[in-house]
């Protein structure tokens, strides 16, 4: 069980949250072309290590959180809002 420290609600069980995937992707410019958009939608670094990811606190404040979590140890390094760099 992950315990995610929500900046607004405090530390809560992972079952209150919904995972929303890799948060390191940023949308390319409109004219960036097919390859850039394909990479944005489909390609993932998928690291074995620190991972920047979205978690939606559906069972709490309903805010979208940006979490830095280790994909092997599951340790959570930091949790912030969507505008935080992570």
């Amino acid at each position: 069980m992950l315990r995610i420290p929500c900046p607004w609600c405090g530390e809560r069980d992972e079952t209150e949250f919904r995972y929303r995937g890799d948060a390191s992707q940023s949308r390319p410019a409109a004219e960036a072309g097919l390859a850039a958009f394909s990479a944005y939608v489909y390609e993932r670094e998928n690291p074995c290590g620190w991972h920047l990811e979205w978690w939606l606190h559906v069972g709490g404040c309903r805010k979208l959180l940006k979490v830095v979590r280790h994909t092997l140890s599951h340790e959570i390094h930091s949790v912030g809002g969507p505008e935080d760099p992570g």
């Binding site: 069980m1 992972e14 394909s38 939608v41 390609e43 998928n46 994909t71």
Partner: protein, 428 residues
């Protein structure tokens, strides 16, 4: 071709009931090692990274179907301890997309003749796979899937509530949460002893001439411009004309060594086995109102599993929320098992692809081939996956049955999304 002579071959002879009897007369002491523990040479025509089901099957079919025996299979640990030995052993071809039905049906047909081909008892048991439905909409969906299968000549049949009860008396049809309305049966589906698949392919590939190199971890991929020229390993560099990655769960990590990003995320899937009991279940049963599937092994234990835990991980372990969800589904469907103890629980790391379908493909790099993205359907696909990957390596062109599994489908907009959930690996 490589002028260096191959490592010394061992032959374990032909296995048969008669041989078992004869060896019994001398206390079963006459058996030899089933496959050679090869030391790696400095170059091969083909290096396959990953000694799991797909890697070993690829080596076997390269040797037997395409005449390429200058092959090494590199495995970081001992073979059989990765996902090939961690799955819930189900085989089936009850898919919806025609391309997927053809591919998995071909695999099922290869399973049907596999033991004779490998001369190895893999305990292929076509006991049937029964999917239950709990709503009218789900009945429509399964009927559509069954029709798609039957149009392609694959067996699928609807079962009434009564027929489900007759076949599996354990099922609580009128459970309070999701009453069972009926089922969808593929009689030719079933289970296979997964360890025997690894051992059988390893033995047959080794005897056909491939080197199976255990405890040899790949730490880098050598490139000369856009061409892959070999791999760096913990046992020294190995040159190769073709490098094939068959490391589902860790495909992204290996591809990153070659500078590629794949449309894959790694997730953990848990599986469980209960204490052994007398025969109570003679099909593979799946629940339709949650993710839960169960079969009974020949030792008597119930083997079951659920969905992935749901967030990126490389940890070969599961966490309790999914364990609880699986247990809840089991209790809803099969309350008679409530007092059964779970003996073991484990996890395997899955390549969850962006469309939920696998990848058997060349890459932007010449000489680098990827067999991965199996999500949680890799085991049943081992024979067809190995054969079509071998075809791609030998012929430099995709096998017709696996041409739709190329990497370019993502950019080209022809993803194969069985569940229709979009590019969200954690949702497939």
């Amino acid at each position: 071709m490589n002028p260096v002579p191959s490592a010394k071959r061992v032959s374990s002879g032909r296995y048969s009931g008669w041989r078992l009897f004869l060896e019994g007369l001398s206390g079963q002491r006459g058996w030899s090692r089933a496959w050679a523990k090869a030391a790696p040479r400095s170059r091969y025509r083909v290096v396959i990274v990953g000694g799991g089901g797909h890697g070993l099957a690829t080596a076997f079919y390269l040797a037997t179907e395409y005449g390429i025996t200058d092959v090494a299979v590199l495995e970081k640990g001992p073979i059989g301890l990765g996902n090939v030995g961690r799955n819930t052993t189900t085989i089936r071809s009850n898919y919806f997309h025609p391309d997927n039905i053809r591919f998995y049906e071909y695999s099922l047909k290869l399973w049907e003749g596999l033991e004779r081909k490998l001369n190895f008892n893999a305990m292929v048991s076509q006991r049937g796979v029964l999917n239950l439905f709990h709503t009218d909409a789900q009945r429509d969906l399964f009927t559509r899937r069954a029709n798609a299968m039957r149009l392609l000549g694959v067996d699928a049949e609807p079962l009434s509530r009564e027929a489900v009860k007759e076949r599996v008396p354990l099922v609580d049809l009128d459970n309070g949460r999701y009453p069972v309305l009926g089922g969808f049966l593929q009689r030719r589906g079933g289970t296979v002893r997964h360890d025997a698949v690894a051992w059988g392919y390893a033995r047959a590939a080794s005897e056909a001439g491939a080197d199976i190199v255990e405890h040899c971890e790949v730490t880098g991929i050598r490139r000369d411009g856009r061409r892959v020229t070999g791999v760096e390993t913990t046992r020294g560099p190995i040159a190769a004309d073709t490098v094939c990655l068959a490391v589902a769960g860790h495909s992204s990590r290996l591809a990153a060594m070659a500078g590629l990003a794949l449309p894959i995320e790694s997730h953990v899937l848990q599986a469980f086995v209960s204490e052994g009991i007398k025969p109570v279940l003679d099909v593979v049963l799946t629940y339709g109102a949650g993710h839960f599937y169960v079969s009974q092994s020949d030792k008597g234990g119930l083997v079951f599993g659920g969905a992935i835990d749901g967030y990126n991980t490389y940890g070969q372990r599961g966490t309790l929320p999914m364990t609880e969800e699986v247990a809840a589904a089991a209790m809803t469907l099969l309350p008679g098992l409530a007092r059964l103890k779970v003996l073991r629980q484990w996890g395997g790391v899955m390549d969850m692809s962006m469309d939920g379908s696998p990848i058997i493909s060349g890459t932007p790099l010449e000489g680098l081939i990827v067999n991965g993205g199996w999500c949680y359907g890799g085991f049943k696909a081992i024979p067809a996956g190995g054969l079509t990957t071998a075809h791609l390596i030998a012929r430099h062109a995709p096998h017709p049955l696996a041409a739709h599994l190329d990497l370019e489908r993502f950019t080209a907009g022809r993803t194969i999304d069985e569940r229709g959930v979009g590019p969200f690996p954690y949702a497939h």
